[in-house]
């Protein structure tokens, strides 16, 4: 056994220990053919099927991490971003409305927008989102770009309780700490490095480029990042800015499929997701963005929501026609992609065992849209 293989083994050791105890929570599925349907009503039904969200969000600050992968300028076949790899603004508006209706006091939509720490509203406008409409969807709606300090004065520190896969502590924008409820609003799509992009992988975007970006300072954060996070997180070519601790096992892997999936699993522990919502009305198949060769538009026609991100992602993966417990090399975890879901399960974040998950609304078999 080489040192590298040994490190890889010990970094997945929690998988062997924790899987049986991982919690489960119900997941609801609804069919929704187009964004012209009453998305708000569909979401409302989903939340009702989960037992309602009033108890979760009433009088609370709710932070919603939206999925806006890549720059707004890169589009698949010229299609609107929300029809391919971003969550659709109508779903965002519907979520705001439903959270407001359920009594949320403050609804903060956040994303670490690609290669900028500028106002998130600007990025949304550049993405063809009508910011005024989203603002009007509920009282207390705000936006924050979490790619740097944003509106905060300091970064929030999320220390991993126990043994993390990658970093012992994650240093993030304050919005991820200054919240009572954390929602991951993601897209139903595949991912080159992680197999699937769902509510768990969406939260990779919590990691600020100011600290973990290719042009982050060696010592201090770069509050004007202009690049992605490949060098630090995907390929381990360098460590983050020293405000954040270095990775636990430098050099154990330089492939995104191994590293990114572990960061995502770690994040599921340090920044737990209370509500996972998956926009699968329209999407893309073959990857997470138009920069992946061979991607194509997809039309699954589903909305999915759940109170546990691992369970929600497991059900969503099954809806995509994949085995959520598949191993490396099996669809959709091709090449070096490790199964993020089972890594998170091993951390105790939730179960991937479909037999243990209460699926409500439309059955998986009825909702299935095969991505391959």
């Amino acid at each position: 056994m080489t040192r590298r293989e040994w490190l890889a083994l010990i970094s997945t050791a929690p998988l062997l220990r924790a899987a049986p105890e991982a919690p489960s929570a119900p997941v609801a599925i609804a069919k929704c053919s187009t964004y012209d349907e009453d998305v708000t009503a569909k979401l409302s039904t989903l939340f009702d099927q989960l037992g309602g969200i009033g108890g979760l969000v009433r009088n609370k600050t709710v932070t919603v991490k939206v999925n806006m992968t890549g720059p707004p300028s890169q589009r698949l076949q010229g299609l609107a971003l929300g029809r391919t790899h971003y969550v659709h603004p109508k779903v965002v508006g519907a979520v705001a409305h439903e959270l407001g209706r359920a009594g949320a006091r403050r609804i903060n939509f956040v994303e670490s927008a690609w290669a900028t720490a500028g106002p998130l509203e600007d990025v949304m406008l550049d993405s063809g989102w009508n910011v005024r409409t989203i603002l009007a969807a509920a009282p207390g709606v705000e936006f924050e770009n979490t790619n740097g300090l944003g509106k905060g004065k300091r970064y929030a520190r999320f220390k991993f309780p126990g043994t993390a896969y990658m970093y012992p502590e994650y240093v993030l924008n304050h919005a991820y700490e200054d919240t009572d409820v954390f929602v991951s609003l993601a897209k139903l799509k595949q991912h080159y490095d992680c197999g699937v992009t769902l509510s768990l992988k969406n939260c990779f975007g919590c990691v600020p480029a100011s600290i973990y970006g290719d042009d982050a300072g060696a010592d201090d954060p770069n509050e004007k990042p202009t690049r992605g996070r490949s060098d630090v997180v995907h390929f381990g070519k360098r460590q983050p800015a020293k405000i954040a601790p270095p990775e636990l096992h430098p050099g154990f892997s330089n492939t995104g499929g191994v590293r990114v999936s572990r960061v995502v699993a770690d994040l599921s522990v340090v920044r737990p997701i209370h509500l996972a919502i998956i926009d699968g009305i329209e999407s893309m198949a073959g990857g997470e963005g138009p920069w992946i060769r061979g991607v194509r538009p997809a039309h699954p026609g589903v909305l999915i929501a759940g109170l546990n991100p691992v369970c929600t992602d497991a059900v969503s993966t099954a809806v995509m026609g994949f085995n959520p417990r598949a191993g490396k090399g099996e669809a959709p975890f091709f090449r070096d992609a490790d199964n993020t879901l089972t890594l998170a399960e091993a951390h105790g974040s939730g179960t991937t065992d479909l037999k243990r998950i209460d699926v409500r609304g439309v059955a998986i078999a009825e909702a299935m849209y095969k991505f391959l």
């Binding site: 300028s73 299609l79 005024r132």
Partner: protein
């Protein structure tokens, strides 16, 4: 020789103009046919000027009878007098002629290489046959797992056209032809017309070989393309006031159009792709008036400015303007003969300057700021009286773009969306942190937002 030709032109023009439109109003097309019946295609269109090779008297006569101007295209080595025998209304000298074209008793249009364009002259039309074929540049990321890239590059002539217009008020013709062995889509024809028009110029309509053949056979698809081409030309020709407007942004680029400004892909195009409104100012026309309303200026001319010109820039900064000078010793390159784009070495040389310009601009609103326009180029033009302005948009994607947002600084509480599809509707104007905003639902190939007091 030039004075003689001007004198001859001056003597003949009144006669000519009595019968045909003024040269400034000519809407040109390269006409590949010589049968009179082909002119039926022009009926009811805004196109009123045909450029033909080897004209024949019968054709010219038929065109004249329809009120259409016929211009004979003469290339180097050919005798223009032969064309005059066909009683054409004018002559186009197209190409890189070794000497001045001869004086002729008819209006003359020179379609010269860019480096030989007679900028600032008295000719009613200044033109070139050299242009890039506009469109979104192909993505170089061909690997299976290319990462995201931040910007879309659009090959465009708009920076060049603005630089030419900065030198004078002539009508500008851009007479580049479709790429060879390419069947150009209808949308691409519309884009090339629109990008010239939003820059105050006219593209000399030219057909690719496929469209030429199909139009000759009057195929319905080709006729549909032709109808869309002429409809777009008519759209811009129906708004002559737009052509009289001038670039209205708060960012001025001081650049000699005879040097870097004549190249495509330079600073002006880089700024355009960032959707920052920019006004080119020719170095020798640099004056306090030329910088009126500007808050930032970029001096590409470096040390080449005269002392009075440098004083204008000093006064600009003393009155609160921000000035970016090129690096010490910086010189803007004069384009080598025949070149119209920057090569890699020149791009590399420009990159330092561009980084500074990019940092200077940042995400500031320099008059207007556009959102969701990555596949578009724009132009912000103001009326001379300051009472109105327009923002033109051209979409280079093959798909319509939905949900475009415009934020603007000037106090224009009224906005109207005008499109070639016939939309003419008032837009809801709302206040933003920095001024005003409007939302545009959809842009197909082009659209214009008229802003008014």
């Amino acid at each position: 020789m030039r004075m003689l030709r001007a004198a001859v032109l001056a003597g003949f023009l009144p006669l000519v103009c009595a019968a045909i439109p003024k040269p400034a109003d000519w809407v040109p097309v390269r006409w590949p046919w010589m049968d009179a019946a082909s002119l039926d295609l022009l009926q009811g269109t805004a196109v009123n000027c045909v450029l033909v090779r080897h004209p024949e008297p019968a054709f010219t006569q038929a065109a004249t009878a329809r009120g259409i101007v016929t211009l004979a295209v003469i290339t180097p080595g050919e005798d223009a007098n032969l064309a005059l025998a066909a009683k054409v209304d004018g002559v186009v000298f197209e190409g890189d002629f070794p000497a001045e074209p001869p004086a002729l008793p008819v209006p003359v249009v020179e379609l010269a290489p860019r480096y030989k364009m007679k900028l600032g002259g008295s000719a009613p039309i200044v033109g070139t046959y050299q242009g890039v074929w506009p469109g979104i540049a192909a993505n170089e990321g061909a690997s299976a797992h290319a990462g995201p890239t931040s910007s879309v590059w659009i090959d465009t002539n708009t920076g060049f056209l603005r630089a030419v217009r900065a030198f004078g008020a002539s009508s500008v013709w851009l007479a580049n032809q479709p790429p060879e062995k390419t069947a150009v889509s209808t949308a691409r024809y519309q884009q090339v017309i629109a990008e010239a028009a939003i820059s105050g110029a006219r593209w000399v309509i030219a057909f690719d070989a496929d469209l030429t053949a199909r139009l000759a056979r009057r195929e319905e698809g080709a006729l549909g393309t032709w109808r869309k081409i002429t409809a777009l030309a008519a759209y811009f020709e129906s708004h002559p006031e737009w052509r009289a407007m001038r670039e209205n942004g708060q960012l001025a680029v001081v650049q000699d159009p005879e040097k870097g400004g004549l190249l495509s892909g330079g600073i002006l195009d880089m700024i355009a792709v960032k959707h920052t409104p920019v006004r080119p100012v020719a170095g020798d026309r640099l004056s306090p008036q030329a910088l009126e309303g500007a808050t930032m200026a970029v001096n590409i001319e470096g040390d080449d400015l005269t002392a009075p010109q440098r004083q204008v820039l000093r006064d600009f900064t003393r009155s609160g303007g921000m000035l970016l000078n090129g690096p010490p010793g910086w010189k803007d390159p004069a384009p080598p003969t025949g070149k119209i784009t920057l090569d890699n070495a020149e791009l590399q040389r420009l990159s330092d300057m561009w980084k500074d310009v990019n940092n200077l601009i940042g995400r500031r609103n320099m008059g207007v700021r556009l959102f969701n326009v990555s596949s578009m180029l724009s132009n912000y033009l103001g009326a001379p009286d300051g009472k109105s302005a327009v923002v033109h948009l051209v979409n280079y994607a093959d798909y319509p773009v939905e949900s475009v947002t415009l934020h603007y600084l000037a106090d224009f509480p009224h906005a109207t969306l005008i499109t070639p599809e016939g939309i003419n509707k008032a837009l809801e104007v709302y206040k933003t942190d920095e001024g005003w905003g409007v939302d545009i639902d959809r842009v197909v190939v082009c659209a214009t937002i008229r802003l008014e007091k």
